[in-house]
């Protein structure tokens, strides 16, 4: 057994840490408070070629695995960029996987190189007000009209839609009541987010405010058939491929925020003197941080195993779900303890830990709640009856 990262992976970690480190906590605090997209940060990573880490080489990428992508996003989050930094590029890194696997050569040549060089911002349009994780309940409908499709419907919690030129959009092309299996009849498009036909409203939310989350009202959006990904009716199957990697990447981001929070808490514990000694001398401060270190390291091992399994082509659903569950909990707990270590100061924006806290909270909900992970493990791994 070998726990060492490869030389490439170590180089990636080092280089990403260095580049992300040039954007400090002050930058992220200001972007978050101003609800402003971190353009300078995004462009620095695009220019360095980092957005193409997993993209095939023929489209300008580097063809690497989820392990490398997870190291990248973990280091981005750990720099203090948190979910603001990670979400600015998250979908460019692996979100287009269904297009890579199932898209036509023409569609890929037209879009993927522009995603790699950072020019094309994309968002992912699946969730609807009436269909959360129950994806087959979506009702946004694409009706064939000659060479085009005409789409109507609503989407919700679409990250980065405000900033995006295109959307990877899941629709129904056959109504749920007209298909044999409810997973049939869905079609995927990668198409322009035409502002005349799609109204985008940012949702006011708890944190990660440098990147928007949006409601979309789609009204007679005309999509040319060339923008369809793969075959009609197969969309659900296409997005399933990406679910496990998605969980691993969010796990990596959660882990990264946990690392940032722990680092900040340790520094404060050493620097802050009360009653004539550093507060970190108190076991009441020290033990929770030491405990978080152990939990973050343990969660990281499960994540490493999950990405390793995926990259060598073995089943990894159990490990991917566990990684997301453990990293989200360990990261959130570390952020909570960082706030506690800072006392009253932790509640201010100035010390950044309240921002980490808000963002790490997100990883316990997205891309699926902790409870849904347990449902998966209970039903599919332990063999207990389905509970919902």
């Amino acid at each position: 057994m070998d726990f060492d990262l490869t030389e490439d992976q170590q180089e990636i970690r080092k280089a990403v840490r260095e580049l992300a480190g040039t954007f400090d906590d002050q930058y992220w605090m200001e972007k978050d408070l101003a609800h402003e997209f971190p353009t300078e940060f995004y462009e620095a990573f695009a220019k360095g070629g980092w957005l193409g880490v997993t993209m095939p080489e023929q489209y300008g990428g580097h063809g690497m695995g989820i392990t490398e992508a997870s190291i990248l996003l973990e280091e981005v989050a750990a720099s203090g960029a948190g979910m603001n930094g990670a979400s600015s590029m998250h979908l460019s890194i692996f979100g287009m996987h269904p297009v890579v696997v199932h898209g036509s050569d023409e569609l890929k040549a037209r879009t993927l190189p522009r995603i790699v060089n950072g020019d094309l911002h994309v968002c992912f349009g699946v969730t609807e007000p009436g269909a959360g994780l129950d994806t087959t309940k979506i009702t946004t409908f694409a009706k064939r009209d000659g060479d085009d499709y005409v789409v109507n419907g609503r989407k919700v919690w679409i990250s980065k839609a405000m900033e995006s030129e295109k959307i990877l959009l899941l629709t129904r092309t056959t109504k749920a009541e007209d298909v044999e299996k409810k997973t049939q009849g869905m079609t995927l498009f990668l198409t322009d987010l035409d502002r005349d036909k799609v109204e985008i409203r940012p949702i006011k939310k708890m944190g990660r405010n440098a990147v928007t989350s949006n409601e979309l009202y789609i009204d007679n959006l005309r999509i040319p058939a060339e923008d369809r990904v793969g075959e009609e009716g197969q969309g659900f199957k296409y997005i399933l491929d990406g679910l496990n990697p998605e969980r691993m990447l969010v796990a990596a981001e959660a882990l990264g925020i946990g690392r940032a929070a722990l680092r900040t808490a340790v520094k404060y514990g050493n620097d802050r003197e009360v009653f004539g000694r550093p507060i970190g001398k108190n076991q009441g401060i020290q033990f929770p941080l030491a405990d978080s270190l152990a939990r973050l390291d343990a969660a990281e091992l499960v994540l490493r195993k999950a990405t390793w399994l995926y990259d060598i082509g073995r089943p990894c659903a159990k490990e991917a779900n566990m990684a997301k569950y453990l990293c989200a909990d360990a990261g959130f707990e570390a952020a909570d303890r960082a706030v506690q270590t800072h006392g009253g100061m932790g509640y201010s924006e100035e010390y950044n830990v309240s921002r980490y806290f808000r963002e790490s909270r997100l990883t316990r909900i997205a891309p699926l709640s902790q409870e849904m992970v347990l449902n998966y493990l209970g039903e599919h791994v332990l063999g207990l009856p389905r509970s919902y």
Partner: protein
């Protein structure tokens, strides 16, 4: 245009740097090393020059095994090849010995159009190696350049002083040292990192350069560290209580320290 950039692997200036107890030389084991930040400007300037025309950038370092990391960083930034001069006998070398090794290595590489260095290392900070190297290579010396242009066989550099800037010119081949004002060094790109793995790195010992062990190392050094002591902890600041005369007191304090 072919350029040789001399770089140094130094202990990270952000960490707690110290000396070895045994021989008072720089401790390179206890702290992480990296490509001297001041040398990144030299690498960047060389890359810009070559990108604007053609040719190759060779990075050169003298140092123990770990110094290969500094070469790797420069290769990741975009340099084409690297030479690492290393030998146990070099340990403890001072500026004259370092410049001798660099000069011999540059002669072996084949004298380029331009040799570029940083303005000093961030560990020794003597800043004399560029001048010594120019002397040994018998090249015109253009130091502390904050702006550099090369046109045909002429190199023009701006040097910023405290009160004025001067522009000087020399003919190629020449040696140029650059300041931290000259450019904004790039970060290695993903492509650069992957490409660096395939770039040639040559390792030369004293024998390859025809240098005798007696000419280098601690024994041959012109300067030595006699003793060292930890920097005393920073003293507490003086708090001036304003009793209507705060301004006067502040001015007196600044005058007593010769700030005004």
């Amino acid at each position: 245009m072919n350029i040789v950039v001399c770089v140094k692997h130094v202990p990270d200036a952000q960490s707690e740097r110290t000396f070895n107890d045994s021989d008072n030389t720089t401790d390179r084991e206890g702290v992480d090393g990296l490509l001297s930040e001041l040398d990144e400007y030299a690498v960047e300037e060389a890359l810009k020059l070559v990108e604007a025309s053609e040719g190759e950038v060779t990075v050169l370092t003298v140092g123990p095994a770990g110094a290969a990391d500094a070469l790797k960083k420069a290769l990741q930034m975009g340099a084409h090849k690297a030479v690492h001069v290393t030998d146990d006998a070099i340990h403890g070398s001072d500026a004259p010995a370092t410049s001798l090794l660099l000069a011999k290595a540059i002669e072996k590489i084949g004298t380029p159009d331009v040799v570029i260095t940083g303005m000093a290392s961030t560990d020794g900070t003597m800043g004399v190696v560029p001048a010594m190297l120019a002397e040994r290579l018998n090249l015109p010396m253009v130091t502390y350049a904050s702006q550099l242009t090369i046109d045909g066989s002429a190199v023009t550099a701006r040097r910023d002083g405290d009160t004025a800037s001067e522009t000087i010119e020399a003919t190629l081949p020449a040696l140029v040292s650059v300041t931290d004002q000259i450019n904004e060094p790039r970060y290695p790109s993903f492509k650069g990192i992957m490409a660096a793995k395939k770039k040639p790195v040559e390792t030369w010992g004293l024998g390859d350069l025809g240098v005798d062990a007696g000419q280098v190392g601690l024994g041959a050094a012109w300067t030595k560290v006699d003793s060292f002591a930890k920097r005393p902890p920073r003293e507490k600041g003086e708090i001036v209580t304003d009793e209507g005369d705060g301004g006067t007191k502040l001015a007196e304090f600044l005058a007593s320290r010769k700030f005004i």
